[in-house]
Point group: C7
Chain length 96, copies 7
């Protein structure tokens, strides 16, 4: 398989609907193998979560739609992996 | 299997009933593979524990009920993993 | 198997009987696979050890009895793992 | 196989076309196994991404062409791996 | 097998006989699988070494006798592992 | 096989010919399995790269010749591995 | 096999003969599987290298003779592993 393999998203959302709903809804989309929703920062009305989604040939449009239907917004796409293999970032001499 | 695969909970509880009771009660719920209860901070009357629960299609309602029956309260859900695969969070360039 | 799988104990003890006796006595209990006794801090009359005990369906009462028979006292139970699988604690975004 | 096996590129690009387009376009080139695009820094009009590309006998010219067609520019080539095996950098006594 | 599986010893010794002799003598004891002698600190007349000994049902008395015959003294027993399995210490929330 | 198995070189070079040429030329030498060229520091006219070369019974003379033909100079040989097995450096108590 | 399995040596040497000669000469000794020579510090006339040697029942006398024939001197033996198994040093609570 190819196409989109992993996404890491920084998402701002209201407290409700809660993150259990968000994780389940995302995990039920086509071509999704699993979802990790990690709480990042909590404010009075909002919270920031880091969402890691893994699958094969995932549709970013579907993912974005689920997130926005729940009143949340994608702040940034921190990592994108595409292709036949899941490629990890490499720590180079520039990062030391 | 799918549904809820792993939960990491920050829980505030009285010293009694103790954490052995809490760990055993949670581990005996349906669809739970195992539970890790780690002591985090101790005060005069209360303590904070970090609970990691792994299973397949776990019921958050059951987990919450056990925790609350023992007089404890879920402070925050720090991580949720859902889907066919157990997805770990990824350290991105944004985290460095 | 299920029940208690791993315990991490913070224990305060007199220098004698020594830690070799403590480790051997604990390792000979029923349902215990192995014991690690790590020296933590030494004072004139006492020492602190971190004890990690792994097994299947271990009896906390038996473990506590051995420790107390040797004149030592459990200061705190730092980690409890229970269930069918040995679950490790997860480092979340809250821990960074 | 031999030739170019992995490249790590520091790339400066406009926000649009977005990184999903960039990752997919690169992953569809000949001899490419996978691509990781990690967001590094965001400014008002531009962003820096670290791109890791893995394959066999990859063409740097093709990769450069895709990047430049999307209005981006390769700032530096931080790591190059070539040959029959994927060789990782080694941490020596000089790096400690 | 059971009994004593691993010992970590902090040992103070004269420079002679040297550590090669110490390591070989310990490794030739019954039930010993291997020995690691690491130099820790050097003074004018003495040195500190950290000795890690792995085996099955090892005799602490034999180990102590070899060390003392060579004019060295066990300063402390930093870690003891006993039982059917080699148990590693676990990093808990208390250690962070 | 034996002889030279891995070399880590600190090399100073002009910007041109570029590092892609350097990596490919080195990877095409006899007995070379792979090459990693990592950018280390950039100045106006020169750059420093860390080169890791892995193979069996490699010829240092051949490697040096390629590097010098491209106008670069070996600043230091930071690590050499020779023999039947690839031996990694060990972190000892002296390094802590 | 048993006897000496791994040695880590801190060696002071003149720049010539160079470290390639040193690594090759050591790797050709009987019972040696491999050698890692890592450059540690350079002065005007001398350099310090950390040498890791792995084998079975190695002869320290042979190793020392090669080092001294090349005009170098063993500053300290930082680690010795002997016995049937290659034992790594263990990080204990005392090291944290």
């Amino acid at each position: 398989m190819s196409g989109l393999r992993r996404l890491v998203l920084d998402v701002l959302k209201p407290h409700e609907p809660n993150n259990l709903v968000l994780a389940k809804r995302l995990s039920e989309l086509d071509n999704i193998e699993g979802v990790n929703v990690s709480l990042y920062e909590i404010d009075q009305n909002t919270e920031n979560v880091k969402i890691t989604i893994v699958g094969n040939d995932m549709s970013f449009e579907d993912i974005k739609m689920v997130i926005e239907e729940l009143g949340a917004v994608i702040h940034s796409i921190d990592e994108i992996v595409a292709g036949k293999k899941l490629i990890e970032t490499v720590k180079t001499e520039q990062d030391r």
